[in-house]
Amino acid sequence: MAEMSIADALKLALQEEMRRDETVFCLGEDVDIKGGMGGAFTVTKGLLDEFGPERVINTPIAEILISGVCVGAGMTGMRPVADLQYGDFLFCMMDQLVNQAAKMCYMSGGKVHIPMVMRAPCGATNRGAQHAQSLESYFIHVPGLKVICPSTPYDAKGMMKQAIRDDNPVLVFEHKLLYGSARKEKDAIKTSGEVPSDDYTVEFGKAAVRREGKDVTIVANLLMSYRAQEAAKELEEEGISCEVIDPRSLVPFDYETVERSVKKTGKLMIVHEDTYNGGWGAQVAAHFAQHGIFDLDAPVKIVAAYDTPIPFASPMENFIIPSVERIKKEAKELAEF
């Protein structure tokens, strides 16, 4: 048990899995160059020293290659873990992810399978539209992929280990403002927490109730799970009690935990940093429109980034991304409906 950041918890997971299984290896651009950063956010820093260049591979800038290598190595018995620097570059490897990794097991009639982990840092951090996106929603629409988004050090370690052991392709969204890595980010949130040193995993498809409440159910992931908790705390003082659920994995998704909560509160709000139209919040809302409509005492609310590319300047970036204030205001409106 030790207190550590998410970045370090992820690293610990990688180390433990690489130690226990020689088929696990890491790759990516600048993934661990001596004197470098260890990916863009320090997660892989230092692995080279322990595991050597054969298992910690600094690749060319070539996302088709990186993803293709994962598919090829994965289908022949390896467990590659790739680092993408910025999730935005997922689009450069989209064919390998969607047409190859996600479909190969199926197309082969279940003969081939592809364990692989693609690590995608996400979130808006004053870097402009091509280094800022939250991209989970694209990938929940791809049968054959699993999509996770750990937001605490405990989950980061346990879910990363689970991802590496999964026999299917797993996309891991890691939020830049939650890493707590040595590379300081403006507006970063301190997330460090206790991480057991033993070999635990966190199952996919189990949401975490981050805060209990009885008036409004808020489903929020990554950075938004923190903002939702902050909003809930402040609303508590106004006498409004919010339950905050962090889904942690989007595919598979734990509807049960959310349903149980909505049965209690009658009010559902989804908060994500990904843009609104066609976002994963729509899927959750649609689930309730189909299967839980009579549990709802009020319209569902989706609080998401407005439908724009991410702007650079802070006043605009802050406006686009759901803030604690916006979450509070919307939750209050819902509570008072």
């Binding site: 993803s67 293709g68 090829g72 390896m78 097991c105 197309m107």
Partner: protein, 327 residues
């Protein structure tokens, strides 16, 4: 001209080529009759490429193929029955009817599920080869692709990394002069669309008569040998020609008659057959007997496949995620 190998080997190669030819022609007629579903991209005319390259591979070696996979898959040992059943979309197909004509394969014999995204298999081959290297085997990956594929970004990324990492992979371009209906001359300034690009990665390359199974086999041996010995990738560019259209319903209106005539006179199966007889490796009568056996087997598998079970509709819901199984 390359020396004829001893009889068993020479006839072995011929048999495989003949099987592929007969398979593709049979499929062609099944399509014409309208009893086979989907679409096809056929490999007849290119049999020497498949057989020459694959004949000496180990089961533990891998091949990666394209939307035009039948020759490669048969040469690597995917079972004829499972191929034919897949063509008919049957439950006993090599992909349980889920893959179809563009996705045949059987990883258990080293034939990676075929890939219908042009260029998509090239970086995957790098991954397969990386695995062979990391696990300290001396197995290799042989990756087939077309002339058209060499213009894809995936080609560039894959070949560069294969070179830098000295991967045990052979990149085999079957240059059949066309990508679908487009002459490669329209989309590339090079005489040899793949081989002339080796220097862009520091990969040695060779241009080979892709209709001469022995020439392919010999160049293949050199390349595979380099890979096995840890000397890195090779590019082979095999000059060849489709007999049929790009896919179904393609009458090849874009190919000049003289070009077709010239290439058809170099038919890889017929010319090798003639050599076998000319050089008295085997008699025509023996060959006819062998050919009949092959034809009969294919016909039998057609009957088998036609009559075999359709997949259950609900089985479509399975295999999205791995359910365990053969590996």
């Amino acid at each position: 001209m390359i020396k004829m190998p001893e009889k068993e080997r020479a006839v072995g190669m011929y048999k495989k080529m003949y099987q592929i030819r007969q398979y593709e022609e049979t499929i062609y007629y099944l399509f014409l009759e309208g009893i086979m579903p989907g679409t096809i991209h056929q490999s007849h005319g290119q049999e020497a490429c498949a057989v020459g390259m694959i004949y000496d591979l180990r089961k533990e070696d891998y091949i990666l193929t394209t939307h035009r996979p039948a020759g490669h898959d048969l040469a690597k040992g995917v079972s004829l029955r499972s191929m034919m059943c897949e063509m008919f979309g049957k439950a006993e197909g090599c992909c349980k009817g889920k893959g179809g004509a563009m996705h045949t394969g059987d990883i258990d014999v080293g034939a990676v599920t075929a890939n219908a995204i042009v260029g998509g298999n090239l970086p995957i081959a790098a991954g397969v080869a990386l695995r062979c290297k990391m696990m300290k085997t001396d197995n290799v990956a042989v990756c087939f692709f077309g002339d058209g594929a060499s213009n894809e970004g995936a080609f560039h990324e894959a070949l560069n990394a294969a070179a830098v990492w000295k991967l045990p992979v052979v990149y085999v371009c079957e240059n059949n002069l066309y990508s679908a209906t487009t002459s490669i001359k329209l989309t590339c300034n090079l005489e040899n669309v793949a081989a002339d690009r080796g220097s862009a990665y520091g990969i040695p390359s060779e241009v080979v008569d892709g209709n001469d199974v022995l020439a392919v086999n010999e160049a293949g041996a050199r390349a595979i040998g380099r890979a096995r010995r840890g000397e890195g990738p090779t590019i082979l560019e095999l000059k060849t020609y489709r007999i049929g259209g790009h896919s179904r319903n393609d009458a090849c209106g874009y190919r000049p008659n003289e070009e077709e005539k010239a290439w058809f006179s170099k038919d890889p199966v017929r010319t090798f057959r003639e050599r076998l007889i000319d050089e008295r490796v085997i008699t025509e009568e023996e060959l006819e007997k062998i050919e009949k056996e092959i034809t009969d087997e294919i016909d039998a598998e057609v009957e088998y496949a036609k009559n075999s079970k359709d997949p259950e509709p609900e089985s479509a819901l399975r295999d999205v995620y791995w359910e365990g199984g053969t590996r």
